[in-house]
């Protein structure tokens, strides 16, 4: 561990940036605690609060369970078995990640509702029953699990691919086999990845306002929104948001503990753990099973949207502006992802080079920033809007500017994205940093490498994949992000997500199909990139590539 004046400044800088980013959250807590009216809260507690908390809990638990089940088993099959079509399925399984929750909600609502094509066709054949309502809690759980499982799948796959044969052999030498090997050795090795993926699913579910709003679910987030707008009780709404924050903080602590125990240093030489070969029959069964989440989470909803699109005369004005919408989406995505990953990397490094109190503070700040991911997007947008607008007014008064700078600027949007998606980048990067033993740095330094040399020749070869994965994950998230983009965006700056939401809100689902498909397709690019990365790591491993070049 190398400490010095440089690292102190680095820690200070990170804490400063983190503090600035955390200001809106702090303001949120303070405003809530100082301003709420007990009467409003009591009224809410008597009427909707318990129900909505329960709904959110069920939604989160159900989605998490579903995503863990699909994601872990898919990752296990793809990484542990060799079968025909494995490489295809490996990337097909990532596709649902490109599907925003609100888009899959639109698609399935159209397809499955009582008056939709499926039930109409069934009734045409004389069927008299009715399918369960898709716009319901169980419908939402199913859809969330289907589009969120790739978080678990991706992280679990990476973790599985990193397990070295040496470890397995050591396990076998010690007498472990079969299920013991899996539960005592493999599971602890991939547990941090599962927990990290599960956290993402959990937070994404709790924070969702797109699909849940469209389904009219009385979730906790919906109650916050209603308290703010319909009842006009801003402080009470903020207090509810704080309660949500505390719940997430509790989950986070549990995650920390899990990861703290599971912290381990990677082995120095990576030998791939060979996959089990499958008979053609086994291959067929595996492919069929693995295709189910791909079909349900991606192909069917996309096909339904395409079908809607093809039957809708495309307005020429829509096509003309289509290019702009996509461009705006991409600009925000690229800037948002780069800023978020840069900050997470900075934090990870500052933490690596510090110890004691500064290190603890960095960890706490990082954890606090991660909460942003679990706050409903609308609340975070509002939490940012107010302080930023205050700053705007102050600056304009102070310097006598005619125009304001911050609200309605891309800068404010990037700020929102960093705060909202820090967790996505932080989890993976911090974990990857933790896998590199400190002794590695010491060894490199003692061989005369400069700090830059250590970063460039020792850390980067191990870090670039987690960095790229984090960057792509944030990119996809920004492309799908809705509430903050809506509320903070500049004039004449519509994105694909914004347009899709507006058309759907205007009950023009068929016209919303074009931008919805576009979000999915634009989101596919980073998803394919993600897959390339993971595949390359697999190939690299199977070629016996050294963990880092000399």
């Amino acid at each position: 561990m190398s400490r010095g004046p440089g690292s102190t400044r680095a820690v200070a800088l990170c804490l400063l940036v983190g503090g600035i980013l955390l200001l809106p959250l702090a303001a949120l807590v303070v405003t809530a605690l100082l301003g709420f009216e007990a009467e409003t809260l009591l009224r809410l507690a008597r009427t909707v609060l318990a129900d909505s908390a329960w709904t959110s809990l069920l939604l989160a638990a159900g989605s998490l369970g579903g995503a863990l089940l699909i994601g872990t088993s898919a990752a296990w099959c793809v990484e542990r078995f060799e079968f025909a079509g494995r490489r295809w399925l490996a990337w097909l399984l990532v596709l649902p990640l490109a599907m925003p929750t609100y888009v899959i909600a639109y698609a399935y609502t159209d397809l499955l509702q009582f008056s939709g094509p499926l039930q109409r066709t069934l009734r045409g054949y004389g069927w008299e029953g009715r399918l369960p309502e898709i716009r319901s809690l169980s419908g939402a759980i199913a859809l969330f699990a289907l589009v969120l499982y790739p978080y678990v799948y991706l992280l679990a796959r990476t973790a599985l691919a990193q397990i070295s044969l040496s470890l397995i052999e050591a396990g076998r030498l010690l007498g472990a086999s079969g299920s013991t090997l899996q539960t005592r050795l493999v599971l602890p090795l991939i547990a941090p990845a599962l927990v990290a993926g599960g956290m993402l699913v959990l937070m994404e579910t709790l924070a969702d306002v797109g699909a849940t709003h469209y389904f009219g679910l009385a979730t906790f987030s919906a109650t916050i929104y209603r308290t703010w707008f319909a009842l006009g009780q801003r402080e009470a709404a903020l207090l509810l948001a704080v309660v949500l924050l505390l719940a997430v903080a509790a989950i986070h602590l549990i995650e920390r503990r899990a990861r703290g125990r599971a912290r381990h240093s990677g082995s120095h030489t990576h030998r791939p753990w060979p996959r089990q070969r499958c008979t053609p029959l086994q291959s067929g069964v595996l492919v069929t099973i693995l295709l189910i989440p791909v079909l349900l989470g991606f192909i069917i909803p996309l096909a339904n949207l395409l079908w809607l699109l093809l039957r809708e005369p495309i307005l020429s004005t829509q096509l003309e502006r289509f290019y702009d919408w996509s461009k705006h989406s991409l600009i925000l995505g690229l800037l948002g992802a780069s800023a978020t990953v840069a900050l997470a990397l900075g934090f990870a490094y500052a933490q690596r080079f510090s110890a004691g109190a500064p290190r603890r503070w960095l960890r706490r700040t990082g954890a606090a920033l991660s909460f942003g991911y679990a706050i409903p997007g609308t609340v975070i947008a509002l939490a940012i809007l107010w302080p930023v607008a205050r700053a705007d007014n102050w600056l304009a008064d102070r310097f006598d500017w005619q125009q304001t700078l911050l609200v309605g600027s891309i800068g404010a949007l990037i700020y929102a994205y960093v705060l909202r998606f820090f967790a996505v980048a932080w989890g993976g990067i911090e974990a990857a940093m933790g896998r590199m033993p400190d002794s590695l740095d010491a060894a490199a330094r003692s061989l005369g490498a400069s700090r830059l040399g250590v970063f460039w020749r020792v850390h980067l070869p191990q870090l670039w994949r987690p960095l790229a994965v984090a960057w792509l994950l944030v990119l996809i998230d920004v492309l799908k992000e809705l509430p903050a983009t809506l509320m903070l965006r500049p004039f004449n700056f519509d994105t694909l997500a914004v347009i899709a939401q507006q058309l759907a809100a205007d009950e023009r689902l068929a016209e919303a199909a074009l931008p919805s498909i576009a979000i999915v397709l634009v989101g596919l690019l980073p998803v394919l990139g993600l897959n390339q990365l993971l595949n390359r790591s697999a190939i690299g491993a199977s070629n016996g590539e050294k963990a880092w070049p000399r």
Binding site: L405, L452, F491
Partner: protein, 360 residues
């Protein structure tokens, strides 16, 4: 020349001073791009915050720019988010004109002082008094009626031809609505509340809840489709959703239209409830003049026709020949003359009644 910047924990080696300069220049351009977008506006502009998201409005705005030379910068947001942004931005808000789609929200924003009253003879003369704020804080520009959709094969017209009859026991298990808290419903309920008082309105709302075929879900179009598919037999909808289905040439929409009927409620009573989409000048409008011109333009015959052609709403200005055959086909009807400002002031209480009777 080779310089080394020992910058915090990263040592960044830069090959030459030239590249350092280039980096500086690039970061400046980037910063400028990031933070000055809103300031790069030409002189004659109108900053419009709109809660209307109808694609057809673009023609309306383009026409305004052509007529007046004023360029429109648009920010489209849901009503709630739009007002919140206006509140937060406070006195430095760039917003000039604001368009909202519900009288209640216009009224609330007026109460909060987010609008600045406009004293315009043109607007006073053209917009009927029931369709604007007394002090000129906001003006309605188009109306949408809250009509009743029913299944003529299963329901007799006279069982559902007033709003109050929707709560009759005869309609048990027949009713579909969207969420009661949605402004389109809330405004209707507030108008009933204004007439009947809290007690009778509460009984009426609770009767409707009893009559529901399923819990409120979806939008107005979904309710119409639900009637056509047999999920329920009566629904409430904004008129333009019905017209939109009528004009569609998709077979499944034709099928919906063929199976359901629309009626004008309360034609022997007070008349059908209408809500409006309206506009106002923001309290701190930097380009107030442009904003007033914009509102006056919206009251012009031409703009009024855009509203009706684009989204099948009715013009508010008397005597404008809307020339929309789809609207003419709906027939003559009597409109509830209750001032919308008055209805709007009742909506918070209406929301409380909804919570009390469990109308989601």
């Amino acid at each position: 020349m080779r310089i080394i910047l020992n910058c915090e924990f990263f040592s960044i080696e830069l090959i030459s001073r030239a590249s350092l300069n280039a980096l500086h220049a690039m970061s400046r351009i980037l910063l400028a791009l990031l933070f000055t977008l809103p300031t790069l506006l030409p002189a004659q502009t109108l900053n419009l915050y709109s809660a209307r998201h109808y694609q057809s409005d673009e023609a309306l705005y383009a026409d305004f720019t052509k007529t007046t030379g004023i360029k429109i910068n648009r920010l489209e947001l849901g009503d709630d988010a739009l007002l919140e942004r206006l509140r937060a931005e406070g006195k430095r808000s760039p917003a000039d004109a604001v368009l909202l789609v519900d009288a209640t929200r216009l009224w609330r924003a007026q109460q909060e002082g987010l609008f600045s009253p406009v004293d315009s003879a043109t607007l006073r003369e053209r917009i009927p008094a029931t369709m604007r704020a007394d002090d000129g804080s906001w003006y309605g520009f188009s109306t949408r009626a809250r009509v009743i959709i029913y299944d003529p094969a299963k329901v007799k017209r006279e069982q559902v031809d007033t709003y109050l009859k929707l709560a009759d026991p005869v309609n048990e298990g027949r009713l579909c609505t969207r969420s009661g808290s949605h402004p389109y419903n809330l405004s209707l309920f507030a108008s009933v509340l204004e007439r009947l008082g809290a007690e009778r309105t509460k009984a009426w709302l609770s009767g409707m809840v009893k009559n529901m075929a399923r819990a409120p879900v979806g939008g107005d179009t979904d309710q119409i489709r639900a009637v056509a598919s047999g999920e329920c037999q009566v629904a409430i909808s904004n008129s333009y959703y019905w017209v939109r289905l009528n004009l569609s040439d998709k077979p499944e929409d034709r099928e919906v239209v063929s199976k359901v009927a629309m009626l004008w409620p309360d034609q022997d009573g007070h008349g059908v409830h209408v809500n409006l989409s309206g506009g106002a000048v923001a309290a701190n409008a930097p380009n107030r003049e442009s904003a007033v011109r914009f509102l006056e333009y919206l009251a012009s015959d031409q703009a009024q026709r855009y509203f009706t052609a684009g989204n099948n709403e009715w013009p508010v200005v008397d005597g404008v020949d809307h020339g929309n055959p789809a609207l003419t086909a709906l027939g003559e009807h009597k409109v509830d003359p209750l001032p919308l400002a008055k209805i709007a002031s009742r909506s918070p209480q209406a929301q409380q009644l909804l919570d009390e009777v469990g109308y989601r």
